[in-house]
């Protein structure tokens, strides 16, 4: 976003139910379901939209190349500008930011943005374990990649061993408050989380995200239109950064791109104390330990103290001062391409007061966050119930 530009807001949000298999809809049917709900929320029809911005994880997951082209009819954008965004797991967040930038820059007034994944038609773990020519095939999916990074965090922070289980249990409790969430583990106990088998030690099965089908959509509009909305979520700041995934001295636990993205975000939003000023956060946490890691990287606490926030209950919707992932988070629903946009949309729902049973009381400012690749692509936004003043 940056200084200047048009004031911009989210005025419509739509999500599908997230589940292992949405066998009742095709990919076009899935994205259309989310888009129609966003349009209805915005009080708009297809003809009101100027342009459509779409995002999903890499095409080879489902094996449908350039799906944005074949989805143009389902999303009512034949003859309109469309744009596709590619930033791996962070794509849902980056897609929302690209859509917002089209309004912020004055190019369009009303942009529909949609992100999705249909994991039932793919196998993401295998897609992420593809044998590369002339390289040793040793990595078993995303868990195999992130486990050594989590191990370094645990060692450098001296965090108690069960912090990850606490995050997983908390997010699954939050998911019970969200009717769209994939996992509704009503009878789950903390002991069951702890006793779950190790898949990628130190990551237990219970500390990983599910494979989901689903889509999320938003209508992002110019101030002149958003002023007529009963409850717009005003976009106060948006930032993206990326870095290579292997270079000398790379801080894998707390990547430079993440820290710089957060610093830019808080500066744009005029936020000097994120822990005080942010009322709810939706962080991209596909493996439980990433909650304390991102809390530190985002500046909600000092380095090494993220696990203390988790342990104290600060991130729980019930009594926490910084509720994190009240929707249940990626740990409860993971349609990969949509997961970043769900974080952004959930942040907007909170400041619009529309989050239902997982609403944080009096939420005025919220953070949406996404990361992707080898923890190397970052997208973040801050939305507020009030118009930005800076």
């Amino acid at each position: 976003m940056g200084a200047g530009g048009e004031t911009t807001a989210v005025i419509g949000i739509g999500m599908t139910n997230f589940s292992a298999t949405r066998g009742d809809v095709s990919m076009p049917g899935l994205v259309r379901e989310a888009a129609l709900r966003a349009l209805e929320d915005a009080g708009m029809g297809w003809d009101d939209i100027d342009a459509v911005v779409m995002g999903k994880a890499p095409d080879f997951f489902e094996g449908v190349m350039m799906p944005e082209i074949f989805l143009a009819e389902a999303l009512g954008c034949v003859g309109k500008p469309i744009l596709r965004v590619h930033t791996a797991g962070s794509v849902g967040g980056s897609t929302a930011l690209v859509a917002a930038s089209l309004v912020h820059s004055g190019v369009h007034k009303k942009v529909l943005t949609v992100a999705w994944e249909k994991q039932s038609e793919s196998n993401a773990m295998w897609a992420l374990s593809l044998k590369q020519p002339f390289q040793v095939s040793i990595n078993a999916g995303a868990g195999g990649y992130f486990s050594p990074i989590i191990r370094q965090y645990m060692e450098e922070s001296n965090a108690p061993e069960l912090i990850g289980c606490m995050v997983a249990f908390k997010d699954r409790q939050h998911a019970l408050l969200n009717p769209y969430a994939h996992l509704h583990q009503t009878d789950l106990t903390f002991d069951q989380v702890v006793e779950s088998p190790m898949l990628w030690e130190p990551i237990r099965y219970s500390e990983t995200c599910p494979s989901s089908d689903g889509a999320a959509a938003m209508v992002i509009a110019h101030e002149s239109i958003a002023d007529k909305s009963p409850n717009p979520a005003w976009i106060h700041a948006g930032a993206m950064r990326s870095e290579a995934n292997n270079f000398p001295g790379r801080d894998e636990v707390n990547p430079q791109a993440s820290r710089e993205c957060a610093a830019d975000l808080w500066a744009q939003a005029g936020i000097t104390n994120p822990r005080e000023e942010i009322d709810a956060a939706e962080l991209y946490v596909p493996f439980s330990w990433y909650e304390p890691m991102w809390l530190e990287s985002l500046g909600f606490c000092d380095r090494g103290d993220g696990w203390k926030m988790v342990e104290s209950g600060a991130t729980h919707i019930d009594g926490g001062d910084l509720p994190v992932n009240c929707s249940g988070g990626v740990l409860s629903s993971n349609p990969i391409g949509a997961s970043g946009m769900i974080r952004f949309a959930e942040a907007a729902l909170q400041v619009r007061g529309m989050a239902g049973d997982h609403q944080v009381k009096d939420a005025r400012k919220a953070l949406g966050h996404a990361y992707g690749g080898g923890a190397q692509y970052f997208a973040m936004w801050v939305v507020g119930a009030d118009k930005p003043t800076n």
Partner: protein
């Protein structure tokens, strides 16, 4: 749902809900100068790295460029066959296309003198004894089986030497080295 009219011969036949269509793509891969040079020498049981012209960082396996600076790296150096574990994962999930006994240890190996790591297998080590900073050495295939493939090294095994301290292991080693040079 839209009503679809089908020939009467299909009356009562169970409708098709989904179809699986495996696809296959064959292609010729050209590894580029850095990887070709590395693979040719790897077939002679030598491990090559490249040196960044900007600050002397050593990258193994060689990449054509130093991604931090966009600088061409064309100076090759021969590396020792020893290093340490930068970090690791004890995996209980099978890998597509590989027949490994579970659990196995996948580790980020930093060769002595290298400034980035690469993922490889650690064996002859019970998972509970693997550590960040543990010293390891390469175990090669028998000479007659060695070829122009990344699989010439079967795995890495502990040497039994004292560990590299956590603060200097893996990616943290670069900063220790930089500070050392600044103090020199």
């Amino acid at each position: 749902m839209t009503d679809v009219s089908v020939p009467s011969s299909l009356d009562g036949v169970e409708p098709v809900q989904s179809v699986r269509t495996p696809i296959r793509l064959e292609y010729t891969f050209t590894p580029g100068v850095a990887a070709q040079t590395y693979l040719r020498e790897f077939a002679n049981k030598k491990i090559l790295g490249v040196v960044s012209p900007v600050d002397g960082a050593v990258l193994v396996p060689p990449r054509g460029a130093d991604s931090r600076h966009g600088a061409l790296c064309d100076e090759f150096i021969e590396m020792p066959h020893t290093g340490h574990v930068g970090s690791f994962c004890v995996t209980n999930v099978p890998i597509p296309g590989r027949d490994l006994d579970l659990p196995y240890i996948s580790a980020c190996i930093f060769l002595d003198g290298a400034d980035i790591g690469f993922l490889n297998l650690v064996a002859e080590c019970p998972p509970e004894e693997c550590r960040i900073g543990m010293r390891v050495e390469a175990v090669w295939k028998p000479d007659e089986e060695i070829g122009m493939t990344a699989e010439n090294i079967l795995y890495w095994r502990p040497t039994g030497e004292p560990d590299i301290p956590f603060g200097a292991a893996g990616v943290r080693g670069w900063h220790v080295r930089e500070e050392g040079e600044a103090n020199a």
